[in-house]
């Protein structure tokens, strides 16, 4: 009988030990107050900023911050950057979708705005971009909302452009310009919107309208000139004006070499041009 008790006692100790190890593993910060956990999450987040963003160290610090405050939307979203930037997209999207779900449940759209931007440029998922932008506007009730540094409507219009729905792209750009005017902003100052508006007209074979917007942007101080000249030259080719086409291609080449071209970190913009494209077009003109 005593022997049985001894064995039972040993088994209970073993289970107790395992349980306490498991509990510690499940969340070592359980005993801390809410304020202490927030402070700790901030500290881990700050530490993560001191190491390379795609490194394991960065991820350990970020995971620790989320262990302290598991529903911290901003830290969750920012933890996804490490995976997205290194192309580990399953994990990146798992974290980002979770951040969006928590954020939108709380009536906020910050994470969704970032997702819409990512969907367009990092995932080329145009349907999701449109869906996310619509949801951002629906939740926030603000038609002119920013999505991670760019207008959400600009993202939506580019998504339509990439889907080949050029009329919808033009409608979205026009709507964006109407809102900009209401806010006292000159729509011509939005280079990207005007550039893709011109490209949408080009795709619909409305060469004159396309050329109008390209040339209008060529006169603006902060536009990107190599691409504008290149696509203007292509229109002159179609209009059989080889001389003007050549002038614009050569100007495009000159500006390209001066780096007055689209140049975005992380991604290549839609319809961004490269030296090979210009050389090929100039070669075609020779024939």
């Amino acid at each position: 009988m005593a022997l049985k008790k001894f064995v039972l006692y040993n088994i209970l100790i073993f289970i107790g030990f395992c349980h306490s190890s498991y509990s510690q593993e499940s969340n070592p910060f359980e005993h801390l107050s809410k304020e202490e956990r927030i402070k700790l999450a901030d500290k881990y987040h700050d530490l993560s900023q001191t190491v390379y963003q795609t490194s394991e160290m960065h991820r350990i610090y970020k995971d620790s911050a989320l262990l302290a405050v598991p529903n911290h939307v901003n830290y969750m979203q920012r933890a996804s950057y490490s995976y997205k930037k290194s192309g580990e997209h399953i994990k990146a999207m798992e974290m980002l979708n979770k951040a969006v779900a928590i954020d939108t449940t709380n009536g906020s759209t910050a994470a969704l705005e970032y997702k819409a931007w990512s969907m367009l440029y990092f995932y080329r998922d145009y349907e999701s971009t449109i869906k996310d932008v619509n949801k951002v506007i629906e939740i926030s009730k603000i038609p002119y909302k920013g999505c991670h540094g760019e207008s959400c409507l600009l993202l939506k219009a580019q998504a339509y452009y990439q889907l080949g729905e050029y009329k919808k792209a033009i409608e979205t750009f026009d709507y964006l310009f109407t809102i900009l005017k209401e806010q006292g902003v000159n729509p011509k100052d939005d280079f990207l919107a005007n550039f893709y508006l011109a490209r949408s007209y080009f795709k619909l074979n409305d060469l004159d309208k396309s050329l109008f917007y390209l040339e209008e942007q060529l006169s603006m101080p902060y536009s990107v000139k190599a691409e504008l000249n290149f696509y203007a030259a292509r229109i002159y080719v179609l209009k059989n004006d080889k001389e003007k086409a050549k002038q614009h291609f050569l100007k495009s080449k000159e500006l390209y070499l001066q780096n007055d071209k689209m140049n975005e970190p992380y991604i290549e913009r839609f319809d961004e041009i490269f030296m090979n494209d210009i050389e090929n077009e100039l070669d075609k003109l020779k024939n």
Binding site: L3, K4, F6, V7, N10, V51, Y52, Q53, T54, S55, E56, M57, H58, I60, K85, S86, G87, E88, H89, I90, M93, E94, N97, Y121, F122, Y123, R124, D125, N263, P265, Y266, I267, E268, E272, I273, F274, M275, N276, D277
Partner: protein
């Protein structure tokens, strides 16, 4: 029955206590420097009383007192963190910061004579990823062929669903070092230097052995099994990384390191004669571009349109990897000395590749 159980428990406790009381070595091996970059570092450290002795590959040593220094005469702050199994040393000055990490060596004793048995044999280990290039779906095997006492041939084979997609090969120098009856290997190009890495031999049997090293804060044990036949090879490329360190990301340069002629030209190049697959989703192919602009060290992640794990025809993946491996036109900065991690993401629409980015 209960008596047997008690006997078993007693034996278990005795073994456990013996393991606990076995004297631990005071020898530490460098895991890496710059913890987030996992840069190879070839050194040993010995902790004795109030001092730490650092021993390089030429058996030269220097010592430091086992304590922190606020600032020395050169303005360098030294912070030492010693735990049961790790010594971390942080040097911080106004201009720079460096950190070095040493791990207590395993109590696995061998002689150099035992190691000689490896000569002329091929061994293969399976790795999750290689050169810190992200990988989720490829099966990656590293084969070490011990050519003689000073050279090995290392082959990496990338396989998907039993289809060999690609192999790459390199010849490396090898050195074997014994310390306190523990055996360490290092594989290197040119001269052995501080920028190489020690791999501790932790198991050696007739048909297998294990190497232990440290990377990205983790202890990594690679188990190599004897290969009686040479692994299947396909389109073998000669490829070497320039540094044994985390490669920089492509966007750490200005401009980003990318294909010189842009994504549209790249798409035309890569989809020419490409096999089709089934479904819709994304394929991400990871790779390194070494300091000479050559491509190698692949990884793969396949996703569906819901960003969940998916699977596409290995023939298509094989085509993409082989075509990517041929690309030489990267806009690398002049005199670049580091390797770069780059990835290409492909959109699959109705079984066809329709876009490539970033």
């Amino acid at each position: 029955m209960i008596k047997t159980l008690v006997l078993f428990l007693s034996l278990f406790s005795a073994t456990f206590c013996w393991a606990q009381t076995k004297p631990e070595t005071d020898l530490y091996v460098a895991g890496y420097r710059n913890e987030d970059f996992n840069t190879a570092y070839l050194e040993f450290a010995r902790k004795q009383h109030d001092y730490i002795y650092f021993i390089d590959h030429n058996n030269k040593y220097h010592t430091m007192a086992n304590r922190n220094f606020e600032k020395d005469t050169l303005g360098i702050k030294t912070k030492l963190i010693i735990t049961d199994n790790k010594i971390s040393l942080y040097y911080t000055s106004d201009e720079d910061k460096q950190d070095y990490h040493y791990f207590r060596v395993e109590n696995a004793e061998f002689t150099i004579d035992q190691v000689r048995e490896l000569k002329g044999k091929r061994y293969t280990a399976e790795l999750d990823k290689v050169a810190m290039i992200p990988n989720r779906d490829l099966k990656i095997q590293r084969e070490i062929y011990f050519l003689d006492s000073s050279n090995v041939e290392i082959t990496h084979t990338y396989t998907l669903n039993n289809t060999v997609l690609y192999t790459e090969k390199e010849i490396k120098n090898i050195t074997v070092h014994s310390m306190d009856n523990k055996v360490f290997f290092s594989f290197y190009d040119g001269e052995l230097s501080l920028n190489n890495r020690w791999y501790q031999l932790t198991n050696l049997q007739k048909d297998k052995f294990s190497f232990l090293h440290y990377a990205e804060t983790k202890k990594i044990i690679d188990v190599y099994s004897l290969n009686s036949n040479k692994n299947a090879e396909i389109n073998t490329s000669n490829f070497k990384m320039c540094l044994d360190s985390r490669p920089y990301e492509y966007y750490n340069f200005d401009p980003d390191i990318s294909y010189t002629h842009g994504n549209n030209s790249l798409l035309k190049l890569l989809i020419k004669d490409a096999p089709t697959t089934k479904g819709n989703g994304f394929i991400t192919i990871h790779f390194a571009i070494n300091c000479d602009g050559k491509v190698g060290r692949f990884g793969l992640e396949q996703m569906d349109t819901k960003y969940q794990s998916a699977s596409y025809d290995p023939k298509l993946i094989k085509h993409l990897i082989q075509e990517i491996s041929k690309i030489t036109e990267w806009n690398l900065p002049e005199k670049i000395q580091t390797d770069t991690h780059r990835f290409l993401m492909f959109k699959v629409t109705n079984g066809k590749i329709t876009e490539v980015w970033p």
